[in-house]
Symmetry: C2
Subunit: 388 residues, 2 copies
């Protein structure tokens, strides 16, 4: 066993490698080259500079580019040395085409001349979507800290605050509770700093990013979220902030209010809680992910709340998503999703509503999928909480 891997993680990493290897065998791929930080973290338990090669026989080799006090690994200066160190190059090598940039791909393809390079993004996505008991423990621990940090939100609110000022104090609370701050997103489609706090009609401002909610943001360089709106009487304030406390993250949204909200907003919020309850019952091993999307939509339509659901002027096309190391993992709860829920999936469910003149309402919870339903691991109170 490689000393790159912390000893308490040896079995865990062996099991992850074995699961990848099994997928490689099915796909006729001899080895997967892991080249991105998230992938390296997954197959070794730590981020390091270099590469990992997961072999179809269930073993893995670790190539470290930058010295980091680790014995028993292969040190390299450049990726071209990997082929030498392996002796013979695998006939078919998988790489993650959805994260590898073209320049790196070209260089690596040359370094493994003679190998056929194929895409194994889907394999990695599928394997990572099913969390191990160890990973689920990390996620449960995130949920507890996330809840504890959110419990301080009412006490940090001050009359006349802007959404940005409230967000800054929420960020601080999260960080004081151990949040690492960094918010990992797969791909280029989304960027966010630590979270999205939406107040009043800013919730109805569209964003270019593929998030459930929008917001104009503070600057055209990062057009999402809080925009300096002064939190006023009758406003809903939706808090959806980073739950990364240990490399894994929970996703949890709670709604707050200043003064009283109109019945339409209260009704929408109750519906969001009801949808969460219902999906927690319906979501179980073997259920199609898109079925959960459909059930949520049916409930919204039966309540006549379509106009406000998942945005008002601009609507998001999903109601939930897998998460773990990154905020956007498989499975996806969307109409065209082909994902089938499995024991160990971890998904965030976020039926949200934008009520003009009020703001965004609703909740988001993170769940672990089991054979008999979904276990909620973000247990903060779900009702709308008064800030004043």
């Amino acid at each position: 066993m490689n000393s790159l891997i912390p000893s308490h993680l040896e079995q865990e990493i062996q099991s992850r490698v074995a699961r990848i290897a099994s997928e490689l065998v099915s796909a006729g791929i001899d080895a997967m080259l892991v080249a991105d930080n998230v992938g390296l973290y997954y197959v070794s338990g730590r981020v390091y500079a270099g590469y990992a090669m997961v072999m179809a026989d269930g073993t893995a080799r670790y190539f470290v580019r930058r010295p980091c006090d680790i014995d028993g690994v292969d040190y390299i200066r450049k990726p071209e040395q990997i082929a030498e160190l392996l002796g013979s190059v695998p006939a078919v090598i998988g790489m993650q085409w959805d994260s590898l940039c073209v320049s790196d791909y070209n260089r690596l393809s040359k370094a493994f001349e003679g190998s056929r390079i194929v895409d194994c993004s889907a394999i990695m996505r599928r394997v990572r979507a099913v969390k191990s008991p160890y990973e689920i423990d990390l996620l449960r621990s995130c949920g507890l800290k996330h809840k504890e940090a959110y419990s301080h939100i009412p006490e940090i609110y001050r009359e006349g605050m802007t959404d940005v000022e409230l967000q800054i104090e929420i960020e601080r609370q999260l960080r004081l509770h151990g949040c690492l701050g960094i918010f990992r997103v797969h791909g280029e489609s989304m960027e966010l700093f630590m979270g999205n706090i939406l107040c009043g009609d800013n919730a109805d401002n569209p964003t270019p990013y593929d998030f459930a909610m929008g917001g104009a943001g503070q600057d055209p360089s990062i057009p999402v979220g809080a925009n300096g709106t002064v939190i006023a009487d009758g406003n809903a304030v939706m808090v959806d902030a980073c739950g990364n406390f240990n490399g894994y993250m929970t996703d949890m949204t709670r709604t707050f209010r200043v003064g009283e909200l109109p019945e339409l907003a209260m009704k929408a919020h109750r519906l969001s809680i009801d949808i969460n309850r219902r999906l927690a019952q319906e979501g179980k091993t073997g259920v199609e992910a898109k079925r959960l999307y459909e059930i949520a939509l049916e409930m919204v339509q039966q309540s006549g709340m379509d106009d406000y659901y998942m945005g008002h002027r601009q609507k998001a096309g999903f109601v939930g998503h897998g998460l773990g190391i990154e905020i956007n993992e498989a499975p996806v709860l969307a109409p065209r999703s082909r994902d089938i829920l499995a024991e160990g999936n971890v998904i965030a469910v976020e039926p949200k509503f934008v009520i003009p003149g009020v703001g965004a309402v609703g909740i988001e919870n993170t769940y672990v999928v089991h054979d008999d339903g979904m276990e909620c691991i973000t247990l903060a109170p779900e009702e709308i909480i008064s800030l004043n």
Copy 2:
């Protein structure tokens, strides 16, 4: 002119597009397809969902994938529509291979069947390295806010604090001064949350990332920076935190102390200031970037401080770097750099030292390159500042 672009930016954007176009002509490329958020922000003044096509004739077209209240742009659902909208596809299309992932590249290559696709990463990097007066104004504004936020550091220090606790309060101060928080890095080699605060011997812990300094970090999922060290008497505390206040960012490091530091640390810090002064004189249009690296190294060697320079157990191989929208732009001040300094380059110079038993000392400033020297835009006091 396209209404995607704010009216006060029309001329600025026209000029950026013209500079890209001129490079395209030289390289025999008919058009550049911009597909990443940073690139879109550069060629339009805002991040949006979609693509831009910069033509060799100096015009640009903007294709928007997600409705965002903009008139007069071409709305698309998928990139395949761009070719249709263009009528005829350009014979040679440049794409940024250093940011585009292989899956997207494959899809776009198909969408422009018949075109030859070439790499234009270097063109974009070269054009963005020379900042316009407008961009330099944004950067100067960052420098002022960055300085103001740092001025509060002594008052937020409390005896017995850990480096992480101090960092959290610094993050809050930066955010209260308008910092957007997000820290954009080009490529996959570096990740950081808002900044690096290093205290005592944690400064000597190696990191896998290509930063000037290291630090073990709080978690193996993001192994860099503060690690929970209690700030003790005789410690140096180096603060290098995010200066992104408007989409552009300054980079500024200052060193603080608790109690007295040994003469070796004080000497190293003075040397860092001296190197900054000297490079500010030597850095001017036409000078090789690597020459600045060499001058800094000569000064360090003459002082006999090599052992501590740019890290102690692990050393960084550069003394400065370009920056703007991202923290790692051209030019690079490193021994093998081929960059030649030009009016409008913006570079951070960071000669730093790690003193065992004390911590990291030195300063980092951001400079604008002019024909007659470099203008410092990060003007916080440079001496080591006492926290107690």
